[in-house]
């Protein structure tokens, strides 16, 4: 009973919050509701008994991805509404139709639920994290390694992009060469 209540509560809240993300003209509302929706999605994983994935959802999406979004938002005036550019009606029609089709297919999926089988079923008495690890390091080893290399590339690129001005200190006064001169200037004042 608790699970059903939690599921319907979470679904209603998630849909509502993501609707706000799409509809709202205020960036602050959009970002807050997106982050809150991400938290609620981790709730679904907990209901399904996938504790590990739920926590990963929480750490990766709420703790890292959304935090980066919000960090970028620091450079805007978050309290003001933004003026949206209206997209052409034909594009809206196409995208709306496509997403409706996807929704229908998703909801029609459970009709064939008997045909769906877990390729890597959970092992009894083994934790969530171990099960994910076994699949990740056997079947999906190559994608895992590729992802690791991609992250490394992104990290090195980030360091090079940001590192061009790393020789200069942001807090040190560079208008004068050495520390003694700064002190002399202070004395003169």
């Amino acid at each position: 009973m608790y699970e059903a209540i939690a599921f319907y509560l979470f679904s209603a809240l998630t849909i509502g919050l993501f609707l706000i993300t799409v509809m709202s003209k205020n960036v602050l509302y959009a970002m807050t509701s997106l982050a809150a929706g991400m938290v609620l999605i981790s709730g679904f994983f907990f209901i399904l008994g996938a504790d590990f994935l739920g926590v990963v959802q929480l750490i990766v999406y709420v703790g890292a991805v959304m935090a980066l979004y919000s960090f970028a938002m620091m450079f805007f005036d978050a309290t003001r509404d933004i003026k949206e550019k209206n997209t052409p009606a034909s594009l809206v029609f196409l995208l709306g139709g496509l997403s409706a089709l996807v929704l229908v297919l998703m909801f029609a999926g459970p009709i064939h639920s008997e045909a769906i089988q877990a390729l890597y079923p959970m092992h009894e008495g083994v934790g969530n994290a171990q099960d994910v690890g076994i699949v990740l390091f056997t079947k999906y080893l190559v994608p895992f390694e590729v992802a690791a290399v991609m992250l490394l590339v992104a990290m090195i690129a980030g360091i090079i992009l940001a590192g061009k001005k790393m020789d200069q200190s942001l807090t040190k006064d560079t208008s004068v060469d050495d520390e003694d001169e700064i002190l002399k200037q202070k004395d003169a004042k």
Binding site: Y29, T32, D51, F52, L58, I59, G63, S70, M74, G127
Partner: protein, 350 residues
Amino acid sequence: MEVVSYRNVETFVQHIPEVTALGVWIKAIIILAVISAIAGFGTYVERKVLAFMQRRLGPMHVGPYGLLQIIADGIKLFTKEDIVPQNANRFIFMVAPVITAATAFIALAAVPVFPDFTIPEWIPVIGGTFVPSIASDLNVGILFVLGMMAAGLYGPLLAGMAQANKWGIIGAARTAIQFLSYEVVTGLSILAPIMIVGSLSFVDFNAAQAGGVANWLVWKQPVAFILFLIAGFAETNRTPFDLLEHEAEVVSGYATEYSGMRWGMFFIGEYANMITISVIAAIVFLGGYSTEGLGWLWIMLKIAFFFFLMLWVRAAWPHVRPDQLMWLCWKVLMPIAVINVVITGIVMMV
């Protein structure tokens, strides 16, 4: 190094009765009530400890030794006017402190706080209910607590962005970089003990260190312990890393425009996070609790020690500059944490 799996915990917890929904509810209410009270009492302890370390007396006038100062502060917090500044985003501004307090208490749901007990039969309605020591015994408890504390970042962040105040937004930006950076160190430093124990559950950690001081993980992982403590100080906004609301630079940071109980909620969340970090440090590195005899007193003492350590450090050290903070995180602590993980892995494999 010995790799042991403590998955088979049935033998360890077999005498514990079934956990009912009512028991979890009661536990949740106990955590809320007691930790809020401790947060209030913590302010008094902090002022007294700081005062004695600085050869002062601290609060002395309200009640014996200033003990009633907590009540006076509480009355002040509750009755103060709740101000929302003019250009602020009203809704987000009002919600932000609740996020801080809520995430701090949700994190406490997965850590063992206070011993388990059964309510006596003679009490009506709730008599005979077993109240567990962990409200929600997840098998990924450590990750959950760290993730929830990471989500706590949104409190200061949204507060800073919603309040239309320059000090607020600078404070919020500092919060974002500090928490995001030091989360990396917390996660990496605690990874090495997780590798040794082979589990993410607090119960397994406790079982792995049973049997005396010699089995504590702090002896096997001293580097991880130090790194975790430093990062824990940064994540709970304690001196020497209290740059988020440093008065001399950014007035009060993200809390600049807050008053009354909304400001108080930031404060309660911060103290609850201090307790959470102390509990994690005590269980992961210092042996945790024992269910027999006075074992629970020991973990209380360990938690109290870490709490005291935070106050002690505040009295002993000045705070660092923001650029030093980032330098320390990315150029010192993170490489050490990574090397520690690699060395732990090599030692375990060989």
